[in-house]
């Protein structure tokens, strides 16, 4: 879990979360994109980067599918992409405003 990895974080910085946990409509910034630690096939992390999912870029969930919440429509920069869950799982983000969870 995220909590275990963020011991010395300044109180003003919001914890990073997987993209899937971002509530629809909330803004966030990409922290990291990596296909290495997910079940995604090789090349997914790289392609996501080529689509613009790069650290520092603004992201927002535009819509989620019925039932399991997949696929998701994600605004990245000025473009929007539909992603399956295993693709979204490669992306970690940091919400812009503190999340009260």
């Amino acid at each position: 879990m995220v909590a275990s990895q963020r011991s010395p974080v300044p109180p003003s910085v919001v914890a990073e979360i997987p993209l899937m946990e971002l509530p629809p409509g909330a803004s966030a910034r990409v922290v990291s994109v990596s296909g290495a630690d997910s079940e995604a096939p090789a090349g997914v992390g790289r392609r996501l980067a080529e689509l613009g999912f790069l650290p520092g870029e603004a992201v927002r969930i535009v819509a989620r599918g019925l039932l399991s919440g997949a696929p998701i429509a994600v605004r990245i920069g000025t473009g929007t992409f539909a992603l399956r869950l295993f693709e979204a799982a490669c992306i970690r983000v940091r919400p812009e405003q503190p999340q009260f969870r």
């Binding site: 096939p41 080529e50 819509a63 989620r64 599918g65 920069g77 929007t80």
Partner: protein
Amino acid sequence: MDAARSAPLPLIALVGNPNCGKTALFNILTGSRQKVANYAGVTVERKEGSHLTSSGRRIRVLDLPGAYSLDPLTPDEQITTDVLFGRRAGETAPDFVVCVTDATNLRQNLRLVLSLKRLGLPMVVALNMTDMARRKGIVIDADRLASELGVPVVETVGVKTHGVRELIQVLDVTPMPRRCGTTGSWQPLSAADIELDQSEVRRILGVVGGAGLDGVTFSDRLDALVLHPFLGPAILALILFLVFQAVFAWAQWPMDAIKLGVASFGDWLGAALPQSLLRGLLIDGILAGIGSVLVFLPQIIILFFFILILEDSGYLPRAAFLLDRVMGSVGLSGRAFIPLLSSFACAIPGIMATRTIQNPRDRLATIMIAPLMTCSARLPVYALIIGAFIPRRVVWGGLELQGVVLFALYIAGVAGAMAVAFVLKLTTGKSGGLQALMLELPAYHWPNLRNLGIGLWQRVEIFLSRVATIILALMVILWALSTFPAPPPGATGPAIQYSIAGHLGAWLAVLFKPIGFNWQISIALVPGLAAREVAVGALGTVYALSAGNDVSSALTPLIAQSWSLPTALSLLAWYVFAPQCLSTLATVKRETNSWRYPIIMAAYLFALAYLGSWITFRVATALA
């Protein structure tokens, strides 16, 4: 090409991200009419045209599939990089690159510009869709962008003919010596390289403007409805239903007009010509056959009217989003949706569009099920049988029963495709891993009326040229086979029974009897292999010859009398599944580079069709 070698013309290539308007620019530069639409992956081939500059210089222009980077992941991107790097057999690298960018999405598009710059090819950046950017309040300093990038930048509006004036001027004055070689070496970008490029893009956007607005756009507000978990699927179902209702409801009067026209022409011809072999050929062979196909033109136009609007508005990728769960559950890539949807027009462009699918297994699975999508050539067959056997009646609060049945047939094809995909998933899915989606949802825009007009006119041209060539030729051959040899003296039955086609039909009828087809249907299926709608024309000809009167306008009542309902339903089931199209099989051969897959495809589709028809016929007979 010898001509090209003796007088080497400069070769320019249009390169850019998917859906940034390359083909629209190509069409203006070369006077072509290649398909443009609002989704990524419309162009999956290398297309060539030529442009004559105002000073009289001729330039070869290449339109290429869109690419997100120069490290290709999909077969269509591979085509683009192969052309750029001069790796295609018999072709050198382009002498000049027009890098097309979407001015509303520079944050994404400029990374490819930086990559292309690294290739070292002479280039110009076309800042396309500047009209749309301006409307969104995005102001870009093009001169500043040019100095930051170190390459010329021109503003273009690809949907307007005068929108490319600046680009044409640049092409006119830029010297483009033939380089006739390959492009310098290319090192694939690492993730860190991509990040570095993006910080450079951010820096440039900070200087020239055009960073884009982070706020909620019109497309976002529309997406809140269209992609809504409950409303979205309801809207999709409503749109599809409306299309099929319209295909029957709106087509009635133009169809009646065509029928009347063909019938009065037949009457006039019949009265003007003496009883002769020629009169038989013209009226029973050509007019009966062609007339019965021509009647369905209005329905095809209506279907394409809706398809083109959906394609141009940007709705198609949204439909892919909504149906992605279904696609994923049967082991299909999310990117399979658009190729499959294209197959509703014709399986051939649909199969070619699978080049946008990265994983070879996923691509093959999509190719194998594409022919189960009901293509427009099947529409005349469906419409003929529905018109003859399903009463024009309003059911369940205003729905037209014929439209409901047509909708059900399309659904049957889709359900069959999903079932086949599921079987493929069970047998081959493990090797493929997870199937990708990563589909761009472009900003919505109003369908361009000029594109709509051109698109519809192209469909009319395709349909009429098929009628005038392949269908006409087959009708003449069929008429000859059905007329000769002439019946022996003292024969009692209709002449066609003694002809070659009559004998052939009698043999085939043995094969098709278990599924309820009579000998007339059995004959009509054979020319229907060349083009599905020919089966309708063939029925027209066969019945004209066996009934002895003009049926060019009256095929519907004739089959309504002479077929049983189980036979009609069985034929519908046959057409849902049967591989009645040789060009599709040829395309599968070309795209998979092997005879194996077209053979497997034909075999499984025939088996499915026979089984489906057999069950339909038995069940319908038992119930009747």
